[in-house]
Symmetry: C2
Subunit: 454 residues, 2 copies
Amino acid sequence: LTLAKALAAIVGAENALDDSGSLAAYATDHKERGVPPLVAVLPATTAEVQAIVRLCAAQGVALIPRGAGTGTVGGAVPEAAAVVLDLSRMNRILAVDADNLLADVEAGVVTGDFQRAMEKQGLFYPPDPSSSDTSTLGGNAATNAGGLRAIKYGVTGDWIAGLQIVLADGQLIRAGTRTRKGVVGYDLTRLFVGSEGTLGVIVGLTLRLAPKPATKRTLLAVFADVRQAGEAVLAVLRGPVTPAAMELMDASALAAVRSKLPAPIPPGHATLLLDVDGDAESTAREAAALAEILAGTKMVALRRSASEEEAKALWAARRAISQALYEIRPQRAADDVAVPISALVELFEGVEQIAKKAGVQHACFGHAGDGNVHVNLLYDPADDDESARVKRAREEVFRLTLRLGGTLSGEHGVGVAKRAFVPWEQPAALIDLQKRLKRAFDPLDILNPGKVFP
Amino acid sequence: LTLAKALAAIVGAENALDDSGSLAAYATDHKERGVPPLVAVLPATTAEVQAIVRLCAAQGVALIPRGAGTGTVGGAVPEAAAVVLDLSRMNRILAVDADNLLADVEAGVVTGDFQRAMEKQGLFYPPDPSSSDTSTLGGNAATNAGGLRAIKYGVTGDWIAGLQIVLADGQLIRAGTRTRKGVVGYDLTRLFVGSEGTLGVIVGLTLRLAPKPATKRTLLAVFADVRQAGEAVLAVLRGPVTPAAMELMDASALAAVRSKLPAPIPPGHATLLLDVDGDAESTAREAAALAEILAGTKMVALRRSASEEEAKALWAARRAISQALYEIRPQRAADDVAVPISALVELFEGVEQIAKKAGVQHACFGHAGDGNVHVNLLYDPADDDESARVKRAREEVFRLTLRLGGTLSGEHGVGVAKRAFVPWEQPAALIDLQKRLKRAFDPLDILNPGKVFP
């Protein structure tokens, strides 16, 4: 246990955990199960992170950066002997610069805490992954987390002006600028964003902010089937109004949350849930414009929120779905594939056919404005046959996604869960180039080794 | 001349130029002068580019990718024996996918041609570098070109879904996805964007599009000095309306274009030129909202366009400025520094002091919404003393920019013109990391060697 003692010398004994109870919690994220780490170390400062990285490099021990562990693909989960670097103690909002719409934070700040702190100052941090109440800004950056508002506001990477990174040799660098534009050298900020802890440890972020939209309105449009909902998605995207969210639930998803619906919706139907935000006048105008566009589609019913409470009621079913699926079957394969928007309907219909053929229950919903669909295939892990059928069906969903011009992950990342399938999407030359890049940044292969690439 | 013959065998003799007249044109861009290349080669296909890269790699000859040569920092200019790869013949728009708001193009398509082709289909490609009538989409991507509309629509990189790249070993890869979100592997697209031809040759682009805004309105606000204009910039950015352009001209710039002004503006004053765009109703509403915000500042006069012709008149001075400066002095140091918006005024005022102290004429104007300022220091190259004073003043502008938290280039890039100054902005560890990255991508140092980093 020399390693634990050496780590304890850096962060204090209470922040270098090696009891089996503590370590067990670090063996999993929200979905994948790996093995417990040798030690979980919780630094409080960048200097401590640097010392930890140098120690692991010197001892040749793998180091796995971890935010709140809300990932679903095993990106922060050890597969073999490793140290987990838990950044949750580095959770200070260091500075807010309202004039330049910038904030400096440590990597372990919880996203929702940050959003609320900004809103108190009339500011807005738009990226909104559904894990935001527990996930961290550093983890969001490492995975380039998406979320509900990406259609209008983009993903996490679009709101990062700069990053502070501890490299694999313990050196600290600052990537990016405090300016809105900057083209001196390579865009390392975007390279670290989404690199899942394999290229460096994100210890600090300079985030962009926006003025806070004063109001929000919600519309719920009902369609007789997913095809007609998909056509409405295209109609909205052609129009002059960019909604702040556009969520599609097909019949399979609506069936799972029937009790949470604001009004009965017949089986087989599909819904589009749309938000618009901005100042009061533009929000009202945009809601009206969207309603007009939707009226020109094959929509069969439209509900509009007149208050924040009504908006919450319209969102209740969408918010409840992840939990509701566990009430149907104890486990699920949950994949966040993305396709070009015009292929959304083919994806939804194709998944339905795949699930039917495999004899498994499914639920599809997603960020329609991004073509990013959460495909859930439900099963009981105690049922070997059902588990095997889901495994095969999941692979068919991946093949369908790629046939439609899509990608295997829109927002969750690769981690270990999709690693074997990366060659289905990317040819060898592309994977080789990325592995060369990884070696240039981390020649000893210390940082989250084995993740992302097969 | 084996090299020229070997290149001619790939592209045909008429597309492998080695006469001194042709080569002279490839020794310069719009600003920097290098040396003529050994050969200028103009491929028509990706396969030809691959063959050229392989040939140069085998012969150990440097290869310099070039779009239209509208750069100003020497990024596409040879400094020693090299082949220039002119991509202007690869100028086809291959496909437009209006449903998914995507277009596939070859690298040599002229940006303005592409913009106009999209507008004919009711679509919109927002990046608008001032060189757009001649510069190419591939060149825009290689430099991450900015332009007038970046405040609302972002820079070139924000509109690139994917790139086709010929690597230094001649392999072709496709980076990016055709989806709006994608997090499988590293963000190579963003890494190649702005890499100034040092990591690979961009041969094709998948560009994002938007629905075309139906209308545009222009406002010209006059202020008694640049400080009050700068305060108005901050007031606008705090508000709910994002202008499609916000250009600041200080007294030095207005003096240079006095004859083009739509109405007399007293010496010492400064102007803000703002565009809003969108559908007719929202444009009118946003113009009114901006006028109200500006009325709350120390603005002394406001002019608003009621027609496209009036908008053009309001823009005439801004459009004329680059040319007008050559009428004052035959040459200029033209640097595109960027600072946090709150430091805009300090930059303008600081440059004025630096120019006064150095006894040189200057003109400052820029994309105020991005903090991106074009600092022009005018001189006659025949006047050695004035040239030396400008050289020293330019370095003082760089020091001031960095002291204000800025960056040496907001949109032009580094090329050769700013290479020596990169260490002023970036510490050795950061430059070393980028050089390791370059070596991983181009181990033989064939692609645009020696550019960007000192």
